[in-house]
């Protein structure tokens, strides 16, 4: 069953959601921040919600450099509600969750974070459907909101989502239910899942790895971390010790496979020394290794990488080349 809230009552819903002062919203085109009365639902925020699950700095444990003293684990505390999540970003969290299945910190954050998705107008850079993502399915979300003219059509997807429905919401009439269904059907009619996945699952690994196209396609790449840091599905991390005197905190932070240091061994050897090798690894991970392991590509088609790449690299050029091997 779906619910209806007049759009003018959105603010009072947000105030209600923020009663524990833990509401996060897209506050502008850059990314998600604590709710301060402003919410940006028109376009795609540059940064995804990934940082609330794999934060820029996650303390893992604290320690003292004294023999016999056992380190104390740190766990994230507090609950969060994130409103205005892009359905593709939420799907991305479900893809990461498979890899972080046994990770204490990630799972703790997953348990304590409610995600309320809002469907936005499809942008030119969007290609979620090609990656097999259906925003109307609301994977990973607790509530899905479809703004339609001057109302919000609200679909609770989980029990905890149901508890957060706005007080002023009423049950949707048959007409309003139809509005939702029509929007969903007309979106799904144009949806087209790329046939590449079935093909790539069957492609042999080595010919793909050794294909000659990598050289030309990786040439313009600067090996910066823009694509990996903006990507809602890239989950690689670095671990650092922040030490002052004899005390320290071990923290986890995002890392990028594009960086030379990422694959540097303590011995000095680096298995991915060339820019080409690092470039190739990113795409092989997303569209071969992960695909083989979990049956889906590690991409939700948000298009942020294509939008922001300073070198003008487009994921589809690489995908097409991979599909031709």
């Amino acid at each position: 069953m779906r619910w209806v809230l007049p759009r003018k009552d959105l603010e009072s819903w947000l105030v209600f959601l923020n009663r524990d002062e833990n509401l996060i919203v897209p506050d502008g085109s850059q990314g998600f921040l604590k709710y301060q009365g402003k919410v940006f639902l028109e376009g795609k925020p540059r940064l995804s919600i990934k940082e609330f699950f794999l934060p820029w700095r996650e303390p893992l444990l604290s320690f003292e450099a004294i023999p016999g003293v056992i380190p104390t684990p740190c766990l994230p505390t507090g609950k969060k509600i994130i409103f205005g999540v892009l359905p593709c970003d939420a799907k991305a969290i479900t893809l990461i969750a498979r890899v972080y299945e046994k990770d204490l910190h990630f799972q703790e954050r997953l348990r304590n974070t409610v995600l309320i998705g809002v469907i936005r107008k499809k942008e030119e850079s969007c290609f979620c459907t090609a990656m097999g993502v259906d925003p109307f399915k609301g994977e990973g979300l607790d509530i899905l909101v479809l703004p339609k003219d001057d109302i919000l059509l609200i679909e609770p997807l989980t029990p905890r989502g149901k508890e957060l429905l706005p007080e002023g919401a009423r049950e949707a009439s048959t007409e309003e239910e139809n509005l939702y269904n029509e929007a969903m059907e007309s979106f799904r009619k144009t949806a087209f899942v790329s046939p590449l996945w079935e093909k790539l699952k069957k492609t042999e690994l080595l010919p793909l790895y050794e294909a000659p196209f990598w050289e030309e396609l990786s040439f313009p790449c600067l090996n910066c971390g823009v694509c990996t840091y903006l990507c809602p599905t890239c989950y690689c991390f670095d671990v650092q010790d922040e030490v002052v005197g004899a005390k320290g905190i071990r923290v986890r932070l995002p890392d990028s496979c594009m960086f030379l240091l990422y694959s540097q061994h303590a011995s000095g050897h680096n298995p991915r020394k060339t820019p080409l090798a690092r470039f190739r690894n990113r795409f092989m991970h997303k569209f071969k290794y992960y695909l083989d392991e979990y049956g889906e590509p590690l991409c939700v088609g948000c298009g942020r990488c294509n939008d922001a790449c300073p070198a003008g690299i487009n994921l589809w050029d690489i995908l097409k080349a991979m599909g031709e091997v």
Partner: protein
């Protein structure tokens, strides 16, 4: 077609046929009109892919380390030719290794300056006018409305170093090269610190696009990547972000040519070039030095003169004076 694109293609074909170079490092058509992409063009037929960069602010010389054992030509605007001069003087490449076609630069454009960006199918530039073709209509903008901040502050739009030069008119050299810096200098030190934290330090995600897009950031191992000793923390802690940006800016003091590749590459659109411009201003005002204007004069840090100003050395008197 953009008249500069036409000229570049014609020249590229000629160079590859006549053999002044075996390859050309140039922008080619990218996935969208805003995203031209660098490529190494090796045949006259491929030269048809070349475009004038327009909306890409990337300095092509940043890819120079990837080019090996092939005599390469490059189209050089003012800032690109100055970059080249700095690289040659710093012994990063030999003058003979590269064939330089000078291009009088009309200025590059900033996609962020387009008001409510429509879905653009095609972009055309004709002298002072920029045409955007959308599905329905053609919108016209004036070049100066869309010029990048770094181009607005450019003192040397014409190439300073070349083997041959294309005909054409370049942008008028800026009369307000340091306007962005001067705006900030008017503020109190607290206000400046606030600006720095709000505009650069806090939002920066440390993706290092600015460093990697900089052709003069060529250290084989950057100080941020050192782990023994570790000079700077790797998280987005404000102090570490601050240290990264300040050290990078200082490392480019007297070297930065104001190409703005760093600012263009930033995925968050942070005003990074302002830091470099402050140091360009210091070098200019204290030592009348501008990087990369010729191949003969020594590098800023290679010179010493007894008359050099030394009032930047913080003394007790200056400290109390603020």
């Amino acid at each position: 077609m953009n008249s500069l694109t036409f000229k570049l293609r014609e020249k590229a074909r000629q160079i590859l046929k006549e053999g002044q170079a075996e390859a050309i490092l140039a922008f080619t058509e990218g996935p969208t009109p805003f995203k031209p992409r660098l490529a190494l063009i090796k045949s006259p037929e491929e030269a048809e892919r070349i475009v004038w960069p327009g909306f890409s602010g990337l300095n092509p010389l940043t890819l120079w380390p990837k080019i090996k054992d092939i005599k390469t030509a490059i189209f050089a605007t003012g800032c690109i030719s100055r970059t080249l001069a700095v690289l040659i003087k710093e012994k990063q490449l030999e003058r003979e290794e590269i064939y330089v076609v000078g291009v009088p630069c009309p200025g590059l454009l900033d996609p962020q300056k387009i008001p409510d960006k429509p879905e653009i199918k095609k972009i055309d530039e004709k002298e002072e006018k920029i045409f955007f073709e959308t599905q329905k209509e053609t919108k016209v903008f004036l070049r100066r409305e869309l010029l990048r901040e770094t181009c607005l502050s450019c003192r040397h739009p014409s190439p300073t170093l070349y083997d041959e030069i294309l005909e054409g008119e370049s942008l008028t050299p800026s009369k307000i090269p340091f306007s962005r810096v001067e705006e900030l200098e008017k503020l109190s030190s607290e206000e400046r610190a606030y600006w720095f934290f709000e505009k650069i330090v806090s939002p920066c995600i440390r993706c290092y696009a600015c460093r990697n897009a900089c052709p003069l950031c060529y250290c084989p191992q950057c100080f941020v990547d050192d782990s023994r000793p570790q000079w700077v923390g790797k998280t987005r802690d404000p102090i570490d972000n601050l240290l990264y940006h300040l050290v990078r800016a200082f490392h480019l003091a007297g070297r930065c040519v104001n190409c703005g590749s760093c600012e263009a590459a930033c995925p968050l659109g942070l005003p990074l070039q302002v830091l470099n411009q402050k140091l360009i201003k210091e070098a200019f005002e204290n030592f009348t030095y501008e990087a990369g204007l010729d191949l003969e004069s020594p590098l800023l840090f290679d010179t010493y003169d007894e008359k050099d100003p030394d009032d930047f050395i913080v003394t007790a008197k200056r400290k109390t004076g603020g």
